[in-house]
């Protein structure tokens, strides 16, 4: 598959999100947290783009910017050729039909005072997608799609298990017939046995509804199951982007290598070298000046502390931000 033939659904260019942690007496920011710092990537139509990284690396912040829960500090979010980050609120709201979000915590993401039928019907109603008399049928259909029984529609969220609640969350996201769904760690709050079910459901729905996913997770193993391409983030920066197989078989960035070595293997014949990183993740308020990973990198060389590596294409649809590799656009 060559890059040119694929249709870009969403492109993020130089996206930044800074949070002000402290302000001086006169309201001037004195301490800034760089949650997302100059991130660019593309999501092609019909694919699942996985975004991984440890807590606090900014992956959820990206997801929230895509659905307008956060306003980007700078940069562009280009959806279908339109920069939606600069639109006025009225105009921006039209795109909420196209980009939806599945939340991490299914216990907090459903309004406890609404029945699940109402929760799923609400997005249809407020966006005037269907006449009132057809909403009932649509909700029934959506419930069936996510594997819930229609007779449960008048129950309240507290009567359901975590996995069932997440299914309700998925049905709510599907209700507006979105093109892109941001899955913000949709399974990390669930039991391992339920995780697989929900992942399989998401996979099935992707084909059934022709969806595109931005799949955010903190472990590469979950992403491996569902993604076509994977981006690895560290301290607000994108470190490596590649196809799923490429990144698992040929991880280039030392951080990706360390992440991959942390996945437990069931194959006892394969002896794996576990890379143990030393030190803690530096604070995003005051990150290392050069490569963000330089303070913990086990392959650090001379320039790493001072020069910030750009994300460069090294061929085979593989991008990496590391001084160890040279640009090779084939």
């Amino acid at each position: 598959m060559s890059e040119d033939k694929r249709e870009v659904l969403l492109e993020v260019k130089n996206l930044k999100k800074y949070f002000t942690v402290e302000t001086s007496f006169f309201g001037k920011p004195t301490s800034i947290l760089k949650a997302v710092d100059d991130v660019s990537f593309k999501i092609y139509k019909g694919e699942a783009f996985g975004l991984v990284g440890e807590s606090g690396c900014g992956k959820s912040t990206i997801g929230k910017m895509l659905v307008d829960l956060y306003k980007p500090t700078s940069g562009e979010i280009i959806y279908n050729g339109v920069d939606i980050s600069k639109l006025r609120p009225q105009e921006r709201r039209k795109y909420c039909k196209d980009i939806q979000l599945i939340f991490q915590d299914p216990y907090a993401s459903l309004n406890p005072r609404m029945t699940i039928g109402d929760i799923i019907a609400e997005p249809i109603r407020i966006n005037h997608l269907l006449p009132e008399n057809q909403i009932e049928d649509r909700v029934t259909y959506l419930l069936n799609c996510v594997g819930l029984a229609n007779h449960q529609r008048n129950r309240y969220p507290h009567e359901f298990s975590g996995g069932q609640r997440q299914r309700v969350g998925i049905a709510r996201a599907l209700a507006v017939q979105p093109k892109l769904i941001v899955c913000d760690e949709p399974v990390s709050a669930l039991d391992v046995s339920i995780q697989a079910q929900v992942l399989n459901l998401l996979d099935d729905l992707k084909d059934q509804f022709g969806l595109t996913y931005l799949f955010i997770a903190h472990g590469l193993n979950v992403v491996k199951h569902i993604s076509d391409r994977v981006g690895v983030m560290y301290l607000g920066k994108l470190m490596e982007v590649a196809g799923k197989h490429e990144i698992y078989d040929n991880p280039l960035n030392p951080y990706t290598q360390a992440l991959l070595s942390a996945i437990p293997s069931t194959d006892i014949t394969k002896k794996k070298e576990r890379i143990i990183l030393t030190g803690d993740v530096p604070t995003p308020i005051n990150p290392p000046k050069g490569c963000r990973f330089s303070s913990r990198c086990f392959k650090k060389c001379a320039g790493c502390d001072d020069i910030l590596p750009e994300l460069k294409n090294i061929g085979n649809d593989h991008q990496v931000a590391c001084h160890l590799y040279d640009e090779n656009p084939q």
Binding site: D68, Q100, S109, N111
Partner: protein, 297 residues
Amino acid sequence: MSKKKRTEVVAGEVIEKPESQIRVMWETLKKNKAALAGLIVILFLVFLAIFGDLLAPYDPEYSDMAHTFVKPCAQYWFGTDQLGRDIFSRVLSGTKISLMVGLCAVAFSLIIGTILGSIAGYFGGRVDGFIMRCMDIMLSIPSILLAITLMAALGKGLDKAIIAIGTVSIPEYARIVRSSILSVKENDYVAAAKVIGNSDGRIIFRHILPNVISSIVVRATLGISTAILDTAALGFLGMGVQPPMAEWGDMLGRARTYIFSAPYTLIFPGLAITLAVLAFNLFGDGLRDALDPKERV
């Protein structure tokens, strides 16, 4: 839960009916004897407020100068006052005014306080600062003093009393609503409501307020008793309703000269105030327990 779910049939399918929140609340409330007693007294007072005039043996405003200061007897159950009016009839008639002022004043401050508190809590920032500082200014003035000042500015009368008493407690409701909203708005379901395209107004009214309503309802119930007391206080000071209308506080105020010679002129309106305030307090406390999900079994 072993209770059988109620079901209904829609399009040939059996669908469970939602479990009524009110029924669950009622079950919990029933177990609280004090709250139940409060509720019964409140219902009794409401009954008296509606039918009091029909039950009253005498015209509460009719002055019979031949029978002043009659001690409680078979003919005049609670005795008569300095103008020879039947105190029993006047206490009955006063129920209507006390309840009406209490409810209307609470409704007035509840509506305005909820709107102000919602705006402050939801939008935050400068709007929040401005609204809450105004509320702080109002809170810094003793409430009865503020009510008297408002009455002086608005003039006498029942409607003015409602506005004055209502205005005084706006800051309390605004604060409660604001703090509840602050704790609820960080929930993911509020973010979810935003993501699916809800407007700010709809998010506040449909997603946030229903989740904070219990604390507001409890405060409002307790607020009725405060409002009844405030009405009585204004009446006592001669600023509430106009004579010869019967109002409990006003009765107390006008009879206080005779506290030693004819104590029954004060005891009965005083008891009525105590009973009403106690009933609303007990019921409010029970309601708070009933609405707290942690108290449910």
